[in-house]
Subunit: 380 residues, 2 copies
């Protein structure tokens, strides 16, 4: 194998595929990045067997020549060392040569790196996926969906399905839900499909996969193709393939958990509420005590308080834009509310309560495609 | 105690004095910041008993009013919580009130924090320092001296004096030296003194103290007064007092270690050498193997190589600006050279060798007030 490649494209693709690579893998070959040079260009692959990422650098596009192939071939190089090297090489062009025994040379200007490569035949094949049922979303919308649901997945493995985000498609609408059983986030979006009757449910994508996917996607309006199979999901962007394993098991039925009535209704400025709750948690030590108390007042105000024994007490008074219904005192995990308020794309929100012991709903005023649900905390 | 203070000044001073506070202190009162309100203004103090920092916020200066004192007094508040609160308070003004039993209230807009304070009488007194012999330096020069010597102190406690920087004054010149016994950094600077005959040596300032001092000083040309006593050093900037304990013991005589002859002389571009050595260490794992080999070549070039068994080999060819004297092959700790090259304020450097087994000297081409010395590494 021998080719010369533009450093900038190489660096970016190496960074992308590195996102899939875990230093804790038990399969030695997966600590490496696979490089394939063909007539069309250079393909890089990284995988931890849950996530696999493939990046393609074409020989050329309309404007630029990126790769000059002298001899086709493959090699696997240690990901960390390789990524560090391509980032630091002195010139814009990098020459990659593989000789006998996988001995690899990277040359750039007066720098020469001789590396011991690994056998590319040992590298696992990526899943073959049939492209019968495809739906698509603009990249920036997909990133927004991930941002607005990914934070609410469970981080403990006691119920593995809750570490993923549940996706279903019904009537041309994608509904994404995540919950750690104390709070829930839901986001809907219209999708385009290549078949009219594309429907599925119980597709559970690991939260970590979505997080890594989001990091390598630009905030563009380019369409991204999505294909779901029995146990894999594939995201296809330009020159990037992102495969993730799906989680096994049945996701809980969350639709019935969401209350449809309201006994106390609040309309609040999103940022004012966020900052007040952030301040009210300043005394909670190492995030151990995140309980915040909310009380409605006479004059359309609400009072938020938080007490940490031995340290002190915080009191925040807020003017509600609207306050309707019954008087209320309720306690909840303030950290969970902060997480939700940070991803709300609306300057004002509605919060609807049905009593001090019942879950309550937070919705943006501007639109109805997102919803957040929170359990109260009992304070005796 | 009761006063109202401008948030911005308060936040900055709290951050400054927090630099002295260690969460690992065994003296409970030192986890706090002491606040003193007097007719003149507000004084904040933080200390870990090695370093003490005092910041003064005057009632007013020519342009602005900063503090409005209603009642004088003192209190000690938990540093971390207090620093977080003042940073996040919503309005520009903060009202601080202390009632009975050290109960303290911080009020800003509609936020109210009730904190349990500590007894200010328990807070240790700062050292009283006689100001007989004072010398001074511009702040930016002091920061530069710290930057160019602080990195070379030892980080292990086997020889405690080597964890500090040695300062001496001779003929109106300050000479600062640090060494971890494998490399040495030296920086000289003219100082102004209030007495003609101010001379001292064996003043050893903990590297950590100098690092924290540098962080709270601006890059200004304002003069900073420095007073050295038996076991303390005091840095006096505008509204800031910085006290540090000195290290006990005798600093090694370093003058005689520096070779005055040269068998092989090199003149090199600082940045070219720095980048070549940085790349040559890319294969060294977790900084365990930092050995770099340097070899002079026929055509005025030098070759830098580094080998990490099982990973590979790096070769860097550099054109020297000048190469004089004998042929040379030498090995050294590349990391130590990188540290020094990063603080050199000169685009070109001289390196003088007196053989493969002898220490070698690195000097900037532009000036003669800094010098770096390195031990070679034996490679069998």
């Amino acid at each position: 194998m021998k080719f010369t490649i533009q450093r900038e494209q190489f660096v970016q693709s190496v960074q992308h595929v590195s996102k899939a690579i875990s230093s804790r893998t038990t399969i030695p070959i997966l600590t490496g990045i696979k490089i394939d040079a063909s007539e069309e260009g250079v393909t890089l692959t990284g995988s931890d067997s849950d996530i696999s990422i493939e990046c393609f650098i074409p020989k050329e596009d309309e404007e630029n020549e990126y790769v000059e192939i002298e001899e086709e071939g493959s090699i696997v190089l240690q990901a960390k060392v390789f990524a560090d090297i391509v980032k630091k090489l002195p010139e814009n062009k990098i020459e990659v040569t593989v000789q006998d025994q996988f001995a690899t040379t990277l040359k750039s200007g007066s720098s020469v790196f001789n590396l011991n490569g690994l056998d590319p035949e040992e590298y696992p094949r990526l899943p073959q996926i049939e492209e019968d049922s495809v739906f698509k979303l603009p990249t920036d919308l997909l990133k927004n969906i991930i941002r607005q649901t990914g934070f609410a997945v469970s981080t403990v493995e006691t119920r593995p399905v809750l570490t993923g985000v549940h996706w279903k498609i019904e009537d041309g609408e994608l509904i994404c839900t995540s919950t750690d059983s104390h709070r829930l986030a839901m986001r809907k979006a219209k999708v385009e499909t290549n078949t009219d009757d594309l429907e599925f449910s119980n597709v559970i994508i690991p939260g970590r996969s979505l997080g890594e996917l989001s990091k390598i996607l630009d905030d563009s309006e380019e369409w991204i193709d999505i294909i779901v199979t029995e146990n894999q999901i594939l995201f296809k962007a330009e020159n990037i393939l992102f495969f993730s394993r799906l989680l096994d098991g049945n996701y809980p039925a969350t639709e019935n958990m969401i209350p449809t009535t309201s006994k106390t209704g609040l309309k609040l400025d999103t940022k004012v509420l966020l900052q007040a709750i952030e301040r009210s948690l300043l005394l909670s030590r190492d995030g151990k005590n995140n309980v915040v108390n909310l009380k409605t007042m006479d004059n359309g105000q609400i009072e938020i308080t938080s007490v940490t024994p031995e340290v002190g007490k915080v009191t925040e008074d807020l003017q509600a834009i609207e306050l309707t219904g019954e008087e209320l005192r309720i306690s909840f995990n303030g950290k969970n509310l902060i997480d939700a308020l940070k991803v709300v794309d609306s300057s004002e929100i509605h919060v609807d309560f049905t009593g001090a012991m019942s879950p309550f709903v937070l919705k943006p005023v501007d639109h109805d495609y997102t919803l957040h649900l929170f359990s109260p905390v009992r304070t005796y």
